[in-house]
């Protein structure tokens, strides 16, 4: 493959993880159940992807109680914002270079 994949962060290769980051980019914080509904994935699947992003320190957890029920919310960290922006820029460059190649042909 000619196009460099530099800048496309590995963490965003999964569609679910990309979805989580997209939703958190435009919301201050989102609770687990809402994320599950937006992404249409199972509990286990979502939890493992969230863990992975947490390990990268792209997102962080906020635990609280709504009444007596525990409520887990997620939000994007500064590092996460930067990584997501870089990823968007990389995608943009990829699209631009592809368009240029097509014009050359």
């Amino acid at each position: 493959m000619k196009i460099s994949v530099n800048g496309l962060h590995k963490a965003f290769e999964s569609r679910v993880r990309l979805g989580i980051m997209s939703a958190l980019a435009v919301n201050e914080k989102i609770d687990f159940n809402s994320l599950k509904e937006f992404l249409e994935v199972t509990d286990g699947n979502l939890a493992s992807h969230l863990k992975a992003l947490e390990r990268e320190k792209f997102i962080d957890v906020e635990k609280s109680f709504v009444g007596r029920k525990p409520n887990t919310s997620y939000f994007m960290t500064q590092a996460g914002k930067k990584a997501f922006d870089d990823h968007l820029n990389a995608l943009e460059m990829l699209i631009n270079s592809r368009n240029r190649n097509e014009i050359k042909k």
């Binding site: 809402s34 249409e40 995608l91």
Partner: protein
């Protein structure tokens, strides 16, 4: 080798997720059309059968010779129309959300309602105060203004068209406050005609 990724598809996914997680898009055009029809029927009943044609002074207070309509009955009709419109909206939104595989009561619908509730509750209380002081002429135009503010405020969390609907309601409410004796006419234009036009637009734009 990793799967071949299409960056354009990635961008599309990102955009749709951003929209999905911020906007409640299960509002139905049909609910708008029906709400408009209820409003026109209600205005007709109030005007024709209850004789709601309050002669008002320029300050919106009742004239001495302002006929013999029953304020209670007019308010009762208004509340019935409001309840019918809400039930219709919830019903159609529920069906549309189910079709889109979403829940009706989720993070986006919650946010939409909270943003509508603040101007609506403030307006509702103000209107009750105005009625208690006898400024019945401002009842109809003020419902338009505060409903319009609620829509404008909530439009960030749903279809763009809701913003324009809000601005139209605010304008009609201001006109109605100036030309107090035409209050019911402006009310019918706002809650009736504007809702029907908005509903048809939403239907053709997003549901067909």
């Amino acid at each position: 080798m990793k799967e071949e990724r299409d960056p354009i598809r990635d961008i599309t996914d990102i955009r749709s997720m951003m929209e999905r997680s911020t906007k409640f898009l299960s509002l139905s055009g049909w609910a708008g059309v029906l709400a408009g029809i209820y409003a026109i029927c209600g205005a007709f009943i109030a005007y024709r059968f209850l004789g709601f044609e309050p002669g008002v002074n320029n300050d919106g207070s009742l004239c001495a010779d302002s006929g013999s309509f029953s304020l209670q009955q007019v308010i009762f009709v208004a509340v019935v129309i409001l309840l019918l419109a809400i039930i219709t909206a919830v019903f159609f939104s529920y069906k549309k959300a189910a079709k889109r595989g979403e829940k009706l009561w989720n993070a986006t619908s919650r946010r939409l309602l909270v943003n509508m509730a603040v101007p609506l509750v403030a307006g509702g209380i103000l209107i009750l105060i105005l009625i208690s002081k006898g400024f019945v002429g401002f009842m109809a135009p003020f419902t338009l203004i505060f409903y319009g503010l609620a829509l404008y405020n909530a439009s960030r969390f749903t279809f763009e068209a809701v913003k324009f609907l809000g601005l139209i309601q605010i304008s009609l409410g201001l006109l109605g406050s100036f030309f107090v004796s035409y209050g019911l006419l402006f009310w019918t234009l706002g809650f009736g005609l504007a809702h029907i036009v908005y509903g048809i637009y939403i239907y053709y734009r997003y549901e067909k």
